[in-house]
């Protein structure tokens, strides 16, 4: 008889491989016309509330080489800290806000998302997380998708109270999760390995 405490095991991850674009950004490469456009091209649309920013950066491997064949997804809250999701039980998400984006990196491993700065998101038990954007990276050679977060360099006070950043600070690596604000641009390079290795998350 089945033990009632048994749970199913998660399907094992396998690498997205070198041809991930066929499945996730087909129009960028050679599969035009099956879908009118790739998913995740627009994180926000006209009329969105909040501060418009461009989040850009590169994904770099342990040898300093650009990860030119990766796909990067982002997920974030709207300017009031509300997620556009059926699993978000608060109402009032900005109707011009999708909150999810996806891009194939360019030849230099680069990505660039036009979005808005998210609001602070509450945590269980009270308090808030500092504004942040979730990143998920898949590619050839990445056996299981890598989660990380980008926080903002102009949010020192909020960052100091953030519970996830606090864990990274304990091991002296919180700086790898801070996007550097430069006007309307926030620069966030992701290092998969090496001296500057970004903090990745078991979420």
């Amino acid at each position: 008889m089945r033990n009632p405490l048994d749970i199913l095991k998660e399907t094992p991850s396998q690498t997205a491989g070198p041809y991930v674009h066929i499945g996730m950004t087909p129009n960028v490469y050679d599969i035009q016309g099956v879908t009118p456009e790739d998913l995740g091209l627009r994180v926000v649309s006209d009329g969105v509330k909040g501060e418009r920013i461009t989040v850009k950066g590169r994904v770099i491997d342990g040898g300093g080489n650009p990860v030119f064949d990766c796909v990067v997804e982002i997920w974030q809250a709207d300017s009031n800290g509300i997620y556009n999701s059926p699993a978000e039980h608060r109402s009032g998400v900005d109707p011009n806000f999708a909150g999810w984006g996806r891009q194939a990196a360019g030849n230099k491993g680069e990505f660039s998302f036009d979005t808005i700065k998210p609001g602070a998101v509450p945590v269980a038990g009270g308090g808030f997380m500092a504004p942040h954007i979730s990143f998920w990276i898949v590619a050839r050679g990445i056996n299981i998708g890598l989660h990380t977060r980008m926080y903002f360099s102009d949010e020192d006070a909020a960052n100091a109270k953030d519970p996830v950043l606090a864990k990274a600070r304990m091991i002296g690596r919180d700086h790898t999760m801070i996007g550097k604000r430069d006007g309307d641009t926030v620069n966030f390079d992701i290092y998969l390995q090496g001296e500057n290795e970004t903090v990745f998350l078991d979420v």
Binding site: Y19, V34, V123, M129, D202
Partner: protein
């Protein structure tokens, strides 16, 4: 983008801790591409926050009529892709054995000769002018999905000097929370290349590998047309929320 398909309140608890024994470690020298792309530091673990408990949703109305039919979705009018005709079907469940309804499932694959339609692909097997290799669908209210395609071919790849990938189809899965995001590959029952594939063997647990292998499903095979393969997948489950009657922000 978000279209709520029912007025049932979406389950929104924290996710169960991920069981990494079921997954490949990041650093797997047998699969050489992993060596410079594997983080060497420990992941930072924390209980799911709203950021991971939520995730994007996609409406059924976003799908084109042929999105789940790779035999014709790239073909010239009246023509079809070359290869062994199959249907792949199954259920997307969570670890609590509950269906995962209304979520996007994307898939991609090589053609019958083992060639991908991709500008960085150099294998000598020919392209099929009628085969793109991309499809997608959204699970129904029971977590069920299906698509029609041709069986992909095996192909050689530069890793060892004589490594061949078993026939496989790539899957990208969304759940209801971003923490459930998963990419995997489905293999075909009986393929002798499975046990000797360096990418398959990044998964350390043999029984976990077995769960990546689709079974020939004669009961759903369509006589004189196509064979069926059954492939169920499992995403992370959510914990019960006995005492969380005041979710974050309320």
């Amino acid at each position: 983008m978000t279209e709520r398909l029912s007025n049932t309140r979406q389950e929104a608890g924290a996710f169960m801790e991920r069981d990494f024994s079921q997954h490949p470690p990041a650093f797997t020298p047998g699969y050489k591409s992993s060596t410079l792309r594997a983080p060497k530091q420990a992941l930072i673990s924390f209980a799911s926050t709203l950021t991971e408990k939520t995730g994007p949703a996609f409406g059924h109305n976003m799908l084109g009529e042929l999105d789940n039919d790779l035999i014709v979705n790239y073909a010239r009018p009246g023509e079809e892709a070359i290869g062994q005709r199959i249907v792949v079907h199954g259920y997307l469940l969570d670890q609590n054995a509950k269906p995962v309804p209304n979520v996007l499932v994307e898939f991609w694959q090589a053609n019958a000769g083992g060639r991908y339609r991709h500008k960085r692909e150099g294998y000598r097997a020919p392209l099929d002018p009628n085969f793109g290799g991309f499809g997608r669908t959204i699970t129904d209210e029971n977590g069920y999905y299906w698509f029609r395609t041709i069986k992909p071919g095996p192909y050689p790849w530069p890793n060892g000097v004589n490594d061949w990938r078993p026939a496989h189809i790539h899957f990208s899965l969304f759940g209801s929370g971003f923490a459930q995001r998963l990419i995997s590959q489905m293999y075909f029952e009986g393929d002798p290349l499975i046990p000797i594939c360096p990418i398959v063997n990044t998964v350390p647990d043999k029984s976990a590998i077995d769960r990546l292998i689709a079974r020939l499903d004669m009961n759903n095979t369509i006589p004189m047309d196509l064979r069926a393969y059954r492939f169920d997948m499992v995403l992370r489950g959510r914990r019960s929320t006995f005492f969380e009657n005041r979710p974050e922000g309320n």
